[in-house]
């Protein structure tokens, strides 16, 4: 029997009339969603805070400015090249800032005031809030509590500060939350796309901070364990590979560049500018750190104390831990517990070895982790057990109070000199509207006379190490008058300056300034003990810079 096309049409009609695809779509009105409102609020608060901090308080986070400076050298130094981004700090923040730094000729403030970093941190702060809201939305928590929890994160003073100040910490938190979001979605919906996204966020996390490595390892382990007994071993292994492959690749690329360019695959670890070298100077060995040094309990107590950044974490963590084992095993609890531990593992190791800086920002992850664990604990404890509206309202108010107290607790926690170094002071200034101009914490403190001198001598070529001198270099009008470490001939000029450079700028070799390349190459130079230099001018201040003229007798 041969069917004619009309018969096919009949068959088609009978099939298609039952298809829901042909139902007319309801008219859609433009509406801002719940997430939309939250992100709008976040953006407004972070952007306003940025303006207030930069233009109101004259507050500049040194590391954030330095990362912007790295991007600046890439585009505007005498020898523009991507390698100028540096091989110690993770490169992604500076890479993300590149397009904004490119606007420097028209808007110098993107570099001079570090606005490029702030823009990136605002954007990634919003991304962090988006991910956190999405994760909580996946839990069985009512809308009201979900919004409160999201706002508790978004408006936490430390999160706001880092969302506005251009530091990499909020960028890392965004990646951490993106990883959670992808992995938790995958475990819930089996969506491969979400697992891929989780893997990409994890890799991006390594681009921001090295904490991503232990965090990733723990989350991958949790992913395997969460699927244990539920799926085939091949799937457990495969999903772990898909989640982990991007970060392994990212790490490999980083090592490769360190090897090919810096001639040491672990340069980022071994560099004289790295964290290990800096902490080895003893500059960061505070009394609190001394208690943690080579003392396991002391280390755990030191690190654990930072949980006060969101105090409900302490309870929520143990509740989540309860749900990691036995028949009550919950994949989300396993991932969040593993992630919380993994995110702090590097700090624990470094604190134990005495390689940890004293900065509170190293523990910023406690805030998002605390909020997520609290959300999970809330879901687990309440579930659908409360049916009475009155009791529900009372419990809701109680929980709200607890959630908010966590955020308010952050303000109190940073008053503690150990927990709030250095941001307790920043928040104090912010809350009391006190300018930080000419404050010791201001990285530009005391640089103005030196910058002014250099700007009045634009033809003077100066050898300078950006590790310590970036705050001068980014404000000088002519970046090209500096020979800096990212220039291919820096090392050569450093050892044979005659006729190739007019002057050498050097800070007093104390603290981390001992690691300045000039101080390391020519010990005693700052003190004037090098005969082929003549002191042009001293600039008293925190770093006590001296500018020396290179004489014809120089090597």
């Amino acid at each position: 029997m041969i069917h004619t096309s009309s018969q096919s049409s009949d068959l088609k009609n009978s099939l298609i009339t039952s298809s829901p695809a042909t139902q007319p779509e309801p008219h859609r009105r433009f509406q801002i969603t719940e997430a939309g409102w939250l992100l709008l609020i976040t953006m407004t608060v972070y952007a306003a805070s940025c303006v207030y901090l930069v233009y109101g308080l004259h507050y500049y986070a040194g590391d954030a400015q330095s990362r912007v400076a790295n991007a600046y050298y890439v585009l505007f130094s005498r020898m523009p090249h991507l390698g100028a981004i540096g091989f110690v700090w993770n490169p992604l923040p500076s890479m993300l800032e590149l397009p904004i730094v490119a606007l420097h000729p028209w808007f110098p403030a993107v570099v001079a005031r570090g606005l490029a970093g702030s823009v990136v941190s605002i954007v990634l702060g919003i991304v962090a809030v988006y991910h956190l809201h999405r994760i909580i939305r996946g839990m069985s928590i009512n809308k009201y509590l979900r919004i409160v929890l999201t706002l508790c994160f978004a408006l936490n003073p430390l999160i706001v500060l880092y969302g506005a100040n251009g530091m990499s910490d909020i960028m890392w938190v965004a990646c951490l939350l993106g990883t959670y979001s992808g992995v938790l979605d995958y475990l819930k919906t089996n969506s491969l796309r979400r697992l891929v996204m989780g893997g990409l966020w994890l890799a991006a996390g390594l681009g921001m901070r090295y904490e991503a490595v232990p965090f990733g390892a723990f989350v991958i382990l949790a992913l395997i364990l969460a699927q244990w007994g539920k799926v085939s071993i091949a799937k457990m292994r495969g999903s772990a590979i898909i989640l982990g492959a991007p970060i392994v690749f990212g790490g490999g690329v980083w090592i490769y560049f360190n090897w090919t360019i810096m001639k040491d695959p672990l340069y980022f670890l071994n560099s004289s500018y790295g964290n290990l070298a800096q902490t080895a100077t003893g500059a960061y060995m505070t009394p609190a750190m001394a208690h943690a040094y080579h003392h396991i309990i002391g280390t755990l107590l030191y690190v654990g104390r930072f949980g006060l950044f969101y105090w409900p974490l302490y309870f929520a963590f143990f509740i989540a831990l309860w749900y990691c084992f036995g028949k009550r095993r919950d994949a989300r609890a396993m991932v969040l517990v593993a992630g919380t531990l993994g995110a702090e593992l590097l700090e624990i190791v470094f604190a134990y070895q005495g390689h940890l800086g004293e900065w509170d920002r190293y523990f910023l992850e406690f805030i998002p982790n605390g909020i997520l664990l609290t959300a999970l604990a809330t879901e687990k404890l309440l579930g659908t057990r409360i049916r009475s509206k009155v009791i529900s309202a009372i419990v809701g108010i109680g929980l709200t109070a607890i959630f908010i107290s966590g955020t308010v607790g952050t303000v109190h926690a940073v008053q503690n000199p150990v927990l709030g170094s250095p941001d307790g002071s920043v928040l104090d200034h912010a809350f009391h509207r006190q300018s930080m101009f000419y404050n010791n914490g201001d990285p530009y403190f005391g640089t103005t006379p030196l910058v002014r001198y250099i700007n009045t001598h634009p033809k003077l070529t100066i050898l300078a190490d950006t590790f310590t001198d970036w705050s001068i270099i980014v404000r000088a009008h002519h970046l090209n008058q500096f020979i800096i470490p990212s220039d291919y001939n820096f090392s050569s000029v450093l050892h044979n300056p005659r006729g190739r450079v007019d002057a050498i700028l050097v800070p007093q070799p104390s603290g981390v300034a001992q690691l300045n390349a000039i101080n390391r190459a020519w010990p005693g130079l700052w003190q004037g003990r090098v005969p082929w230099l003549h002191l042009i001018k001293s600039f008293p201040g925190v770093d006590n810079w001296k500018l020396y003229q290179v004489l014809p007798t120089a090597p």
Partner: protein, 733 residues
């Protein structure tokens, strides 16, 4: 149109249906018994009529009184009807002669078949149940069940209707040699003869006698009578008799069509000539320019070339990234559930043609048979053409001895250059009876519901949906590392790339098999290009050029992955050569192509068809340059990469390689082959092999453009595969 409406009953001509010259009344010579059977005995009796011949395009009907309006309406389905008057007695005697007595009628088909021991009663019962459930014609059903042969059916029909039968397998040569029949052949096209299952067997100045398989369907005779302006009568024969005669008669025509159809329809789309003179001229000019500038400014020219290639490579990497994004974003393939498939009742299904080109594949025939038997499609509506090369005597002999199911027709493709798969497919297509057509390789194991899913796709899709591509994967994925890589590559290709291209409305290079077409669309396009060694990819582009879409559906065909390195290089070099060939063919008129494909389609074409081989050609070049740099720090190398280009090259090397590796891993995971994910991470080694094949392809494109590198199948244990098919397993590993 019925003549009685325009004339009075008295003016209606008379006819005598019965003659009594002999001892008992018999039908007059003017009555063609085969015409009588186009209506049932009940209709003839209730309407008081008897159709008695086809003449000059009209059905001649005898009646003893003016036709009622109801009768006229009922007869309208036969087109033009000419009424003759006769006496009541004459009509009744003729009806009795044709249909038997009113009380008993003539014996039914099944009764005759059982009575004549051609069929067992139990088989008849089963077949009748099947017919009740799935529809279809009883004779075809019995043949598809191998309960009867085509000739048995013809004999029973002959006995049932009293229409004489003719054995064309014996009389075939005589018929084909009969010059007087050439005029009759010319009245209808091959497609029409095939459609009506009919061939001419005798011709006089006034009459054509045709052999038919179904005497109850008079459509073919009506058309022939109308076109020839002659009387047309019929005898009965078997379907195999018809197909054999048609094959013999149209052999040369089909061969010519299989070689030149596309060339005649659209010479610019044919790869008969791979590179046109204009293209050679352009390439020569470019080469001369390059050499000239190279001599003048060596470093600059090298840097410019390097920059262009690096930039192109970066675009390709970006494209692949976009595919990961798009491919994992949502399900872009047409997905049909088992419930939807079950909603299709079998009596609604059209004839489906399956083309299976095979060469030197005798060992695969049992697997092929098992795989086709597994298809969830009424076998009486399967039109499978096993396309065997005339000089492949081993496979032909094996096929003839293999006791193949009756729905598989062995089509012997005459020897002619080029000896390519598309030529064989074109040859088979000329003989296709199906409204839809698909192509499988001999070793393919399609999922049982694939034909129905394809049908659903066409029914749900718009008229512009010209092709539905099923996914391809391998049943021997776990055989060795090569097969694992191959499977991972296919997963990325069919699960990520093709659905993403469909979603982006870009042209889809079809896979080698399991592409399902509307037959009319395929023929309209000129079918496959016999000179193109990746005729599938080429056809995908031509579909897009003609405004048709290709979709990917959620059904998989399992094939044999090439497990031997040398064999793999041969196969892969053919594919890559075909891509380059396809690109050259369609880029003969770039502006025209841009118009035909649209901007998006044009760039999609460049990325998929040129980009794929280009990447593999460039890979070893850049790997070599990078290695050379690390080994020698040769000063020329940095000059090849101006600053921006250097970073782009670095991105290509690192991000690009990772992207494609990751793409493979995600692809296999998406398919559910999680066990292949770790192996997918080793694919950079696979690319080195791809590059080897690519360079071989490039050389061969210049030296032997249409040479078909045959892939050797059967490197797996087929007995195991066959056993697994019978167990209903898809994965033979």
């Amino acid at each position: 149109m019925i003549n009685v409406s325009t004339q009075s009953w008295d003016e209606v001509p008379s006819i005598t249906l019965i003659t009594d010259d002999h001892s008992q009344p018999i039908l007059a010579d003017s009555v063609d018994r085969s015409a009588c059977h186009i209506i049932s005995a009940q209709e003839a009796e209730s309407f008081g009529v008897l159709p008695f011949r086809w003449d000059n395009g009209a059905l001649c009907v005898a009646a003893f009184q003016p036709l009622t309006e109801a009768t006229q309406n009922a007869l309208k389905r036969f087109g033009q009807v000419r009424v003759f008057q006769t006496s009541h007695v004459d009509l009744a005697l003729a009806q009795w002669d044709v249909y038997g007595s009113a009380s008993q009628g003539r014996p039914r088909f099944g009764e005759i078949a059982v009575r004549s021991h051609r069929l067992k009663p139990a088989t008849l019962k089963n077949a009748l149940e099947l017919q009740h459930r799935n529809g279809g014609v009883l004779g075809d059903l019995l043949v598809s069940l191998k309960a009867m042969t085509h000739w048995n059916v013809a004999e029973v029909l002959s006995e049932q209707t009293g229409i004489p039968s003719i054995n064309l397998l014996e009389a075939g040569e005589e018929i084909n040699a009969n010059p007087r029949l050439s005029e009759a052949w010319g009245h209808l096209t091959q497609a029409e003869w095939r459609k009506y299952d009919m061939i001419p067997v005798w011709q006089t100045p006034d009459e054509i006698v045709v052999a038919v398989t179904n005497p109850f369907d008079g459509q073919g005779r009506a058309v022939l009578s109308a076109k020839s302006h002659k009387r047309v009568s019929a005898v009965i024969t078997g379907r195999r008799d018809i197909t054999t005669q048609l094959a013999e008669h149209y052999r040369d025509h089909d061969l010519k069509m299989s070689l030149t159809n596309l060339l005649d329809k659209n010479p610019d789309d044919s790869a008969t000539t791979t590179v046109t003179r204009q293209q050679i001229l352009v390439f020569c000019l470019l080469l001369a320019l390059l050499i000239g500038v190279g001599i003048w400014r060596t470093n600059v020219s090298l840097a410019v070339v390097s920059s262009i290639l690096v930039s192109a490579y970066a675009i390709l990497v970006g494209h692949r990234l976009w595919i990961i994004h798009k491919g994992t974003q949502a399900n872009h393939e047409l997905s049909f559930t088992d419930e939807e498939v079950q909603q299709l009742t079998d009596d609604q299904l059209p004839v489906y043609t399956i083309l299976i080109p095979a060469r030197d594949e005798a060992s695969v025939l049992p697997v092929l048979t098992a795989a086709l038997q597994r298809l969830d499609y009424p076998k009486d509506r399967l039109d499978v053409k096993l396309l065997l090369e005339e000089d492949d005597v081993t496979t032909i002999a094996a096929a003839r001895q293999a006791n193949l199911p009756n729905f598989i027709e062995i089509v012997v493709v005459p020897v002619a250059e080029p000896r390519t798969k598309p030529k064989a497919c074109n040859f088979g297509l000329q003989r296709a009876r199906g409204e839809f057509v698909t192509i499988y390789d001999a070793e393919d194991l399609p999922e049982p519901t694939q034909l129905k899913k394809a049908l659903l796709a066409f029914l749900h899709g718009s008229e512009s949906l010209g092709c539905v591509q099923a996914k391809l994967s391998y049943f021997n994925a776990e055989q060795n590392l090569l097969t694992r890589w191959f499977t991972a590559e296919y997963a990325a290709w069919f699960d990520l790339l093709l659905p993403a291209l469909h979603a982006a409305k870009m042209p889809i290079p079809l896979g080698g098999t399991s592409n399902h077409f509307r037959t009319t669309v395929l023929k309209e396009l000129g079918s496959w290009d016999p000179y193109n060694v990746t005729e599938d990819a080429d056809l995908g582009i031509r579909l897009h050029k003609a405004g048709y879409r290709t979709a990917v559906m959620n059904s998989t065909t399992y094939e044999e992955a090439n497990s031997d390195f040398v064999n793999w290089v041969r196969q892969r070099s053919r594919w890559i050569k075909g891509y380059l060939q396809t690109w050259l063919v369609h880029m003969r008129h770039p502006r025209q192509l841009r118009k035909q494909l649209g901007r998006r389609g044009f760039w999609g074409f460049q990325l998929a068809i040129l980009g794929t081989p280009l990447m593999f050609l460039l890979n070893p070049v850049y790997w070599f340059i990078t290695s050379l740099w690390f080994m020698t720090h040769w000063g020329l190398i940095p000059q090849l990469f101006p600053p921006g280009i250097y970073y782009l090259g670095m991105l290509n090397l690192l991000v690009g390689n990772f992207t494609f590796t990751y793409l493979n891993a995600v692809g296999v995971a998406k398919r559910g082959d999680w066990n292949l994910v770790p192996y997918a991470l080793l694919t950079p080694i696979y690319w080195a092999m791809m590059s080897l094949a690519s360079w071989k392809a490039l050389v061969q494109l210049i030296t032997k453009p249409s040479h078909w590198e045959k892939t050797q199948h059967g490197l797996v244990d087929w007995t195991k595969i066959q056993a697994n098919i019978h167990l209903g397993q898809q994965d033979a590993s």
